[in-house]
């Protein structure tokens, strides 16, 4: 899944806006939204908030974690901890990206926030790198990835799972050849793993 799909999924999470118009509640398929009362905050999906903000129909209320002090703390904690710490939102990067690009002036000290969030993302990316290394060295075929958000997981995709697939294939090959030296198949689960021996198979009319 490339980032635009992860953004599409992340856009579903709710965010508070302050509309400058009023309207009855809307019964969308995924659920109801509103009622909208000018000047009063209301929760809407992020994709709708971004659209309304671009049309200057509302102001976006940044989520409570999107402020400098909280983010600095998260950054320090992330630096300190060997493991991935829990992020304030499952889609913190998508929310940050959308809110700050659609309505920078709704977000106090927006530029500073942008850098802190990017730092947090970079710290976690390099932590992901080193944990991958340990994981591969440990000959594991399984690993826990708690607290990693979707966007971070997909930043090493498909190269990580593809590499693990090949490593596993060659591992199976190495152990299989230790056990028996039967004739070769294309691959153990592949089409003709049972390539029949030559002598009896050819051109039976």
């Amino acid at each position: 899944m490339d980032p635009s799909i992860i953004e599409f999924i992340g856009e579903k999470c709710m965010i508070s806006i302050i509309p400058n118009f009023s309207n009855e509640p809307l019964h969308l398929i995924y659920g109801s939204v509103g009622p909208f009362r000018a000047g009063f905050p209301v929760f809407v999906p992020l994709w709708l908030a971004a659209h309304l903000r671009k049309q200057q129909k509302c102001r976006i209320v940044p989520p409570e974690w999107m402020e400098l002090e909280t983010l600095e703390e998260i950054k320090e904690e992330e630096k300190r901890s060997k493991y991935f710490t829990k992020m304030p939102s499952e889609h913190y990067m998508v929310v940050a990206q959308l809110v700050m690009s659609t309505s920078p002036d709704d977000v106090p000290r927006c530029e500073e926030l942008r850098t802190v969030i990017k730092d947090i993302f970079d710290i976690r990316e390099s932590k992901l790198r080193t944990s991958i290394d340990a994981f591969i060295k440990g000959e594991g075929t399984y690993a826990k990835l708690d607290n990693l958000t979707l966007l971070e997981i997909h930043s090493v995709r498909p190269i990580l799972p593809y590499s693990l697939d090949h490593i596993a294939r060659y591992q199976r090959m190495a152990t299989a050849s230790q056990r028996d030296t039967s004739m070769l198949g294309l691959n153990t689960t592949g089409a003709n793993s049972g390539t029949n021996s030559m002598s009896n198979s050819f051109f039976t009319q």
């Binding site: 999924i9 969308l28 994981f135 596993a168 198979s201």
Partner: protein, 229 residues
Amino acid sequence: MSESEVALNDQDASTEADLAGAYEEDDDEDAEPITAQKVLEILETAWTNEMCAPELLQHQTDMLELMLSQVAHMEEQMRDLEKNDFRYVVHQMELERIRYIMTSYLRCRLQKIETFTQHILNQEAAREPADKRLSPEEAKFAQEFATHMDEYFHKVATQYMPSQQRGEAEQRIVTPNLMSHVFLKANVAVSGVIVGVDDEEVDLTPGSQHIIPYQLVADLIQKNQAQLI
């Protein structure tokens, strides 16, 4: 409120009702009727699972039909609304999102059907009607696709070749790598999941995330105890 606005609003409220009605007879009486929201949720999970799974998963024809009729119903509702009417724009945006999920989901399945055609057809033949992976429409397409491919191969080459050997047909079947590594998220607690080639076991806590060969968790996904991310 203008006449059409009234129509739209109480119409909105009724969409839940008639959708439920449409689904009543299939479900037993006590199960509360499925809401449009639930159908969308099921389709979204099926979509992400399908995109991440190496093999074709079970089809969701019923959910798809319900959602398609719900989308058509919504569009019908909005036909007489102004293009820049706030409600028209918001509903239209949501419908675009839902259309994207459905088309992306079906395209992803189609790609697997076109790549593993014979493998899927062979497995389908051995499956009970309830466990079918292909929807009726997909089954027809898969059969046609296999025929067209054979026709092409036959006309250009195989008719001029000596007859097939025993085992040659199997040799040409393209199969998925079921040991492909996938990213998994546990929906519920699952204990005693074999995770290693050496039968090492692990308990999954709800919400936990893992990277693991697909085959070891295929049934968890089918039973919705876990999903692919």
